[in-house]
């Protein structure tokens, strides 16, 4: 990683809203819905699909940047939800559980297609790259699309080096923007555990990046 950045920007001052309420995942409205799905109530399953389909789709698209594949994988995610929901133990929120399945499916897809070396080598055309560049301006306006694609490829590769739980947690934190307190509520773990897990994940990612740089 570029070590040229030495000045650290700091956050704005003041206390933002913090969700400190521990959610009881066993007695929520969502739990009732899950129990209906576990009892093979199709209407309940339809509700789950309709409630989370956009979220799942956007998570997949964020990782893969391919609309057709994203829809295909989204279908696979909900099929997996349908078959596995009997194993859902209410320790986390349904969204957290679905999120984990979604990320795993994305990584299964990447593994199967063996496109992690350069994710877009085969699927991503020049036209797609231009469209992406136009729709998503670069941070400083100077990073070309291919560099950003290579960076995305790198981070996907690094994320494959940590466990499923660590991957989901860091993505929920950084991609979905949930706070430590929210993550604690969503996963049923306490805040300190979340902080420790996140810190270890970050260190693992740095070590993996170091190893990757040395082997290149």
């Amino acid at each position: 990683m570029d070590a040229s950045i030495t000045t650290l920007p700091f956050p704005a001052i003041g206390e933002g809203p913090r969700a400190r309420t521990r959610v009881d995942h066993k007695n929520s409205e969502e739990a009732a819905l899950v129990r209906r799905v576990q009892a093979r109530d199709e209407m309940a399953f339809r509700e789950v699909v309709e409630r989370y389909q956009s979220k799942v789709f956007s998570i997949i698209f964020g990782i893969l940047r391919n609309r057709n594949d994203a829809e295909d994988i989204a279908q696979q995610v909900f099929a997996k939800v349908y078959f596995s929901i009997k194993n859902f133990d209410f320790r986390s929120s349904l969204l957290t559980w679905i999120y984990k399945i979604t990320v795993n499916e994305c990584y299964d897809y990447l593994r199967k297609k063996r496109v992690r070396k350069l994710v877009y080598e085969s699927d991503f055309s020049q036209e797609d790259a231009q469209r992406m560049e136009a729709s998503e301006p670069a941070i400083d306006g100077s990073v070309p699309a291919d560099t950003r694609l290579a960076q995305r490829d790198l981070i996907l590769k690094l994320l494959s080096k940590v466990s499923e739980e660590e991957r989901s947690l860091i993505l929920l934190k950084e991609v979905e923007g949930h706070s430590v307190e929210e993550l604690a509520g969503m996963t049923g773990l306490n805040e300190n555990t979340i902080k420790v897990k996140l810190f270890r994940t970050r260190q693992k990612l740095l070590r993996a990046a170091g190893r990757l740089t040395r082997t290149r």
Partner: protein, 184 residues
């Protein structure tokens, strides 16, 4: 990384926001914490370097967000397509794990090969056991015949019966037979 930074790394990273969009739900750390971390980072090169790496890494991870304004509308009939897939796939059985994944297939092939090897070993070892049993039986029969035939013969004739002194089991069998025969 030192503890004063490690304990508040999430606050530091949440506040750094080196990407185009802020984390939407993130709370903000208190001024006292920020002041402490700021002072420490100003003095500690090691922590500063590691925090800098983590900031860049965080910026890369945040690039995995779907683009702002991304249309999350799926094509109509998504639920129907999900149900079609569910019907096509059927319930997941333990066999799917072996059939569907490459690793599972390898395990299945390896298990099958091992089972075949064990089976082949058992069959061949059983055969050789049967053969040696038959050989022993035939040897016993011969011995008995010789004993019957040589009842009145001098003792040296009987000693000839023990033609395979190396075979302890056949020697035992002969002695047992001899004892039984004399008792009768």
């Amino acid at each position: 990384m030192h503890r004063e930074i490690r304990d508040h790394i999430e606050d530091v990273l949440a506040g750094s926001q080196p990407v185009s969009r802020p984390a939407p739900f993130e709370g903000r750390p208190s001024e006292a914490i920020l002041q402490d971390t700021r002072e420490h980072l100003a003095q500690c090169n090691e922590c500063r370097a590691e925090v800098s790496d983590m900031q860049q890494q965080t910026a890369l991870i945040r690039e995995l967000r779907a683009p702002e304004g991304f249309a999350t509308d799926l094509r109509p009939g998504f639920y129907a397509r999900v149900m079609e897939r569910i019907e096509a796939e059927g319930p997941i059985s333990i066999w799917n794990l072996f059939i569907e994944s490459a690793f599972g297939r390898r395990i299945a092939v390896a298990s099958l090969s091992l089972a075949l090897l064990i089976g082949a070993y058992l069959v061949t070892s059983e055969r050789s056991a049967e053969e040696s049993l038959l050989a022993l039986e035939s040897q016993q029969v011969t011995t008995e015949q010789m004993i019957v035939a040589g009842e009145d013969a001098p003792a040296r004739e009987i000693t000839r019966v023990d033609q395979s002194p190396t075979d302890q089991s056949s020697e035992d069998a002969v002695l047992a037979n001899l004892v039984t025969y004399r008792e009768q």
